[in-house]
C-alpha cells in the first residue's frame, strides 16, 4: 500500500479534469470545441476503490454531453471491459485483457501491448454496477452506430433518468436520426425534468409534456398530483392542473379522431362488400348470399399471389399485395360468372329461390376451401406500406393497414362510378336496372349484361378480400363476418345506387364503431338493426329508392 497516496493524488487530478470538462460551458458555433477526456486518469479511477469507481462513472455521465465521440467510445469500451472483468489493474496502470485471466493485454490509455501479470481485476459492487451501467447507457446513446444499441442505452438511462444531465439527453435528441427513438428520448427528458428538484424546471417540463399529449403523458402528469409540491406550491399546482386538463382535452379529441378513422376503415370494407351486392340486387333482384365467400376467394387469391412471389420473386415480395389486386378481382369475378352462368341464369324470375341457390353456393365454397386448404388462419407477410403508422395527434395513430383499406375503397368507388357512368357496359347496366324489358327491346343483350355485371359485382367482393388481408384474419368462414352487415347496407342504401351504398356503409360502419366502445359490440348491432327497422318505416325503399311502374 506504499504507493496509495500517489495514486490518490493522480485520481483526484483525473476527477478534477473530468469535472472541469463537465463544467466547461458549451461553446456556441458549428463545431463546439470538445474538451478531451483524461483517459489515463479515468482508467486509474476505475481501478480505485468502489466509491471512486462510482464517482468516475458519475463524472463521465456529467462530462458526456461535451465529450468527443472518440473519447466516449473509448470510455464505453473500458467500462464494458470493467463489467466483464477483463480490466487488470497493475502498478503501472490499467490493462485491458482479451479474456478474463489472460496474461497480457493492451494498455487502457495508450493501447500498447503490455503484460498484465500480478494485476488485480476489480469487481464492481451493486451500487457501482448501476452507476457504470448508466454511464454505459449514456455512452451508447451518444456514440453507438446501431439504433438498436442506442435504444438499449436509452432504456438503461431511463431507470435513473434524474441523475443524467439534461444536456446529455439534449445532445442525443439533436443527433438522433430515428424518429421513434427521438420521440422516446424526448419523453425520457420530460420525465427526468418532471422529477427535477428545480421547481421552475419542473413547471417547464409540465408545459412541455402537455405540448405532446398522449395517454402516457396524462398518467405521468396525474402521478404528480401525489407530489408534495402539488399541495405546497400554488404555481406548480396551477401549471399541473392546466396541463392535465389540456392533455385530457387533447386525448378526447384524439380518441374521437381514432373512432372516426376506425369507422371510416370499417365503412370502407363494408362498402366494398356491399357495392357488388347492391349492383347485383338492383340489376337482377338477386340477393347473393355467397358474396361473403367471394370476399374469401379474393383473400385466398391474395395469399396465392404472396406464395407465388415467395417462390419466384422473393426480392419483390413486398409488392405482392399490389399484384394481388387484379388477380383477386379476376378470381372472384370468374367464380361469379360461373355461378351466374350455371345457376342464377335460370332463376331470375324467382328471387327467393335464387337466394337459396346462392346459399348453397356459399355452403359449397366454404366447405370446399375448408377441405382443400384447411380451416386455419392464413399467415400474411405485412409489407412496410401496411405495417406501423403515423402518430398524428395525441393517441391517434394513422395506421397504414387501415389507410390502405380506405384508399382501396376510394379507388373501388372511383372505378365503380367510372364503369357505371362512362363505359358501354355501365350504360347497359343502368338501362337494364331501370327497365329490363325496354332495354331488351332496344337490343341490349340483357343476359350478357347480367353475366358481366354479376362478374363485376363479384370482382368487387374479391377486391374487398384484398383490402381485408392486412386487417382481419383470413379463413374459410371469414365471409360470414361481414355478410349480415353488408345486407343491412343494401337495405339502408337502396338498390342499384352506388351513392346510396356509400352513404349507408358510412352510416352503419360509423354507428357500429361509435356505439361499440360505449355499450359493447352486441348492443351496437342491436341498435343498428333497430335503427334500420325504424328507418324503413319511413323509407321502405332505402335512402335512394328506385322508381318502378306497375
Amino acid at each position: 500500500m506504499a504507493e496509495a497516496p500517489g495514486r490518490l493524488i493522480r485520481l483526484h487530478a483525473a476527477l478534477l479534469g473530468l469535472a472541469l470538462a463537465a463544467l466547461a460551458p458549451g461553446t456556441a458555433g458549428a463545431a463546439p470545441e470538445r474538451p478531451p477526456v483524461d483517459r489515463p486518469a479515468l482508467a486509474a479511477a476505475l481501478c480505485g476503490p468502489p466509491a471512486v469507481q462510482g464517482q468516475a462513472a458519475e463524472a463521465l455521465i456529467r462530462a458526456a454531453a461535451d465529450a468527443e465521440t472518440a473519447d466516449l467510445a473509448w470510455a464505453g469500451n473500458i467500462l464494458r471491459v470493467l463489467t466483464e472483468r477483463r480490466l487488470a489493474c497493475t502498478d503501472t496502470g490499467a490493462v485491458i485483457l482479451d479474456r478474463p485471466g489472460a496474461a497480457e493485454g493492451a494498455d487502457a490509455a495508450t493501447g500498447a501491448s503490455r503484460p498484465a501479470a500480478g494485476g488485480r481485476v476489480p469487481v464492481l459492487g451493486l451500487r457501482q454496477r448501476a452507476q457504470v451501467e448508466t454511464a454505459l447507457g449514456v455512452v451508447a446513446l451518444l456514440s453507438a452506430r446501431d439504433p438498436e444499441a442506442r435504444g438499449a442505452g436509452l432504456a438503461a438511462i431511463e431507470r435513473r433518468a434524474a441523475g443524467v444531465p439534461e444536456a446529455v439527453l439534449a445532445r442525443a435528441e439533436t443527433a438522433e436520426a430515428d424518429p421513434g427513438l427521438k420521440r422516446a428520448i424526448m419523453q425520457v427528458m420530460q420525465a427526468a425534468a418532471l422529477s427535477s428538484p428545480d421547481p421552475a424546471r419542473r413547471i417547464g417540463a409540465i408545459r412541455a409534456v402537455a405540448e405532446a399529449p398522449s395517454g402516457a403523458a396524462l398518467s405521468r402528469l396525474r402521478a404528480l398530483e401525489a407530489d408534495p409540491a402539488y399541495g405546497a406550491d400554488p404555481a406548480f399546482r396551477a401549471a399541473l392542473d392546466s396541463g392535465i386538463s389540456r392533455v385530457g382535452r387533447a386525448i378526447a379529441v384524439g380518441d374521437g379522431l381514432a373512432v372516426l378513422y376506425n369507422a371510416l376503415s370499417f365503412a370502407s370494407i363494408l362498402f366494398m362488400a356491399a357495392a357488388g351486392l347492391a349492383i347485383i340486387f338492383g340489376l337482377m333482384g338477386v340477393i347473393n348470399l355467397a358474396q361473403g365467400e367471394f370476399i374469401m376467394i379474393g383473400a385466398y387469391a391474395t395469399y396465392g399471389v404472396q406464395e407465388l412471389f415467395r417462390r419466384l420473386a422473393p426480392g419483390a415480395i413486398d409488392l405482392y399485395l399490389i399484384a394481388a389486386i387484379p388477380v383477386a378481382f379476376l378470381a372472384a369475378a370468374l367464380v361469379g360468372i360461373a355461378v351466374e352462368a350455371l345457376i342464377l341464369r335460370h332463376l331470375y324470375r324467382r328471387p327467393l329461390m335464387s337466394l337459396l341457390a346462392t346459399w348453397a353456393v356459399s355452403l359449397f365454397l366454404v366447405n370446399g376451401v375448408r377441405v382443400a386448404l384447411g380451416t386455419q388462419n392464413l399467415q400474411f407477410r405485412m409489407p412496410p406500406y401496411v405495417s406501423g403508422g403515423l402518430p398524428l395527434y395525441a393517441d391517434f395513430i394513422v395506421t397504414w393497414n387501415r389507410l390502405f383499406a380506405i384508399g382501396f375503397a376510394a379507388g373501388t368507388l372511383a372505378l365503380t362510378l367510372l364503369i357505371l357512368r362512362a363505359t358501354p357496359l355501365g350504360l347497359d347496366i343502368r338501362a337494364v336496372t331501370q327497365n329490363r324489358d325496354m332495354a331488351g327491346c332496344l337490343g341490349i343483350r340483357t343476359r350478357r349484361v347480367d353475366r358481366l355485371a354479376f362478374g363485376f359485382g363479384s370482382g368487387l367482393a374479391g377486391l374487398a378480400g384484398v383490402a381485408l388481408c392486412p386487417i382481419y384474419s383470413v379463413n374459410p368462414g371469414m365471409g360470414a363476418t361481414f355478410i349480415v352487415d353488408s345486407f343491412m347496407v343494401v337495405v339502408l342504401g337502396g338498390v342499384g345506387t352506388v351513392l346510396g351504398t356509400l352513404v349507408a356503409a358510412i352510416g352503419i360502419g360509423g354507428a357500429n364503431v361509435a356505439i361499440e366502445p360505449l355499450y359493447g359490440a352486441v348492443a351496437a348491432k342491436v341498435i343498428v338493426l333497430v335503427g334500420i327497422i325504424l328507418f324503413i318505416q319511413r323509407r321502405p325503399e332505402g335512402l335512394f329508392p328506385a322508381r318502378r311502374r306497375r
Binding site: F281, G285, I287, L289, I343, H346, L347, R350, P351, L352, M353, S354, L355, L356, A357, W359, A360, V361, L363, F364, V366, N367, G368, V371, A480, V484, F487, M488, V490, V491, A521, V522, K525, V526, L529, I532, I533, L534, I536, Q537, R538, P540, R550
Partner: protein
Amino acid sequence: MSGNAETFPVPRRRDGAARLGARIARDPLVAILSAAILGIALCLVLVRPSPYLVNAAGQLAAFAILAVSLDLVWGYLGILSLGHGLFFAVGGYVCAMHLVAHAYAVTGIPPDFVQFMGWKTLPWYWAGLTNAPYALVLALGLAVLVAFVFGLASFRSRVNGVYFSIISQALVYVAMLLMFRNDTGLGGNNGMTGFSLLFGWPMGSPGVTLGLAVASLAALAAVLVGASLLVGSRTGRLMLACRDDETRLRTLGYGTTRLKLGIWCLSAAIAALAGILYVPQVGIINPRVLAPDLSIEIAVWVAIGGIGRLGGAVLGAVLVNALKFWLTAAMPEAWPFILSGLVLLVVLALPNGLLDLAALRLKPTWLRGGTR
C-alpha cells in the same frame, strides 16, 4: 248489372263434419300424411323400438312442425322468413328454462350457469317458470309478441320479398349475438343442458322418450290438419291472393297488413311449439340454434319438399334431417356438399321440390298445381 244486388236463396249447406272431411280431402297428401304420422305414433307405442329410433322420430316430427310453420308464410303468403330459427329458439329457450327451474326446485342444485356467473339465485324473469302451463303460455306468447312487433314494423311499411328475408336474417343474427353473452341469465355461450326431470319423471327414461316422441307426432298431425284447414278456408284463398298480387287485393278493399300479421304470428307460435317439443328431446339448447345458417336450412327443407304444399314441407324436413342424422355420423365431411347439391338440384330442376319427382312417376292430378 242490375241483378246482383238482389239476394238469391242461400244454397244448401253441407253439415259440419262432412265439410271438414271434404276440406281435408282437398289435399289428399295431407290426409295421407296425417294418418301415417298417427300410425307411426301408434307403432311406437305398440312395438317399442330402440329409444334412439323413438327419439329420432320425435325430433323429426319437431322439425316437420317447424317446416310447416315456415311453409305457411312462405308457400301461402309469399313471405320468406330467414329468421324462423328465432321463434323456434324462443320456444326452445323457454322450455329449457322450465326444465331447469323445475329441476332446481326439486333437487335444490342451482344450474351450472348460475354457479358459473357467481349468482345467488336465478334472475327475476325466471319467476314462475316451474309452472308448466305458464311456461307454455310464455313461450307461445313471447314468440307471438316478437313476431307481432317485427311483423307490424315490416308489413306496415310494406317491406316484402327479398328485403324482408334479409332483415329477418339480421334479426336472428342479432338475437344470436345477444344470447352468446353470459350475462343474459340464459346460459350464454354454453346454453342450457343437463335437464334431469320432466314433470317429475327422470329425463331419458324410455317412457319419457316415448311420451315426448308421441306428443311430437301428435302435435305434428294436429298442426298439419289445422294448417290444411286454414289454407283451404276463405282466409287461405285470401293468403294465396295476397301472395300473388297484394296490391290487387288491397284495391279490392282488404287490409292485407292485418292478414299477413295474423298468419305471421300464427306461424311464429307454431315454430315456438316445435322448439318446445325439440329441446327436451335433444337435451340442450344453445345460441347456435339462432345461427342464420340454421334458419336458412328450414327454408331449404321446405324448398326441397315442395313450397306451398304442407305435405311437401313435412316430407322435406323429414327427408333432409333423416339424411343429416345418418350422414353427419357416417361421413361428416360430405354432408355440406350433399346438402348444397340437393338445394341446387331442387332449385334448378324441380321447382316444386321433390313432389315434382313423384309427379313425374305417378302423374296423379292431385300432386299438380303446386306453386313456384
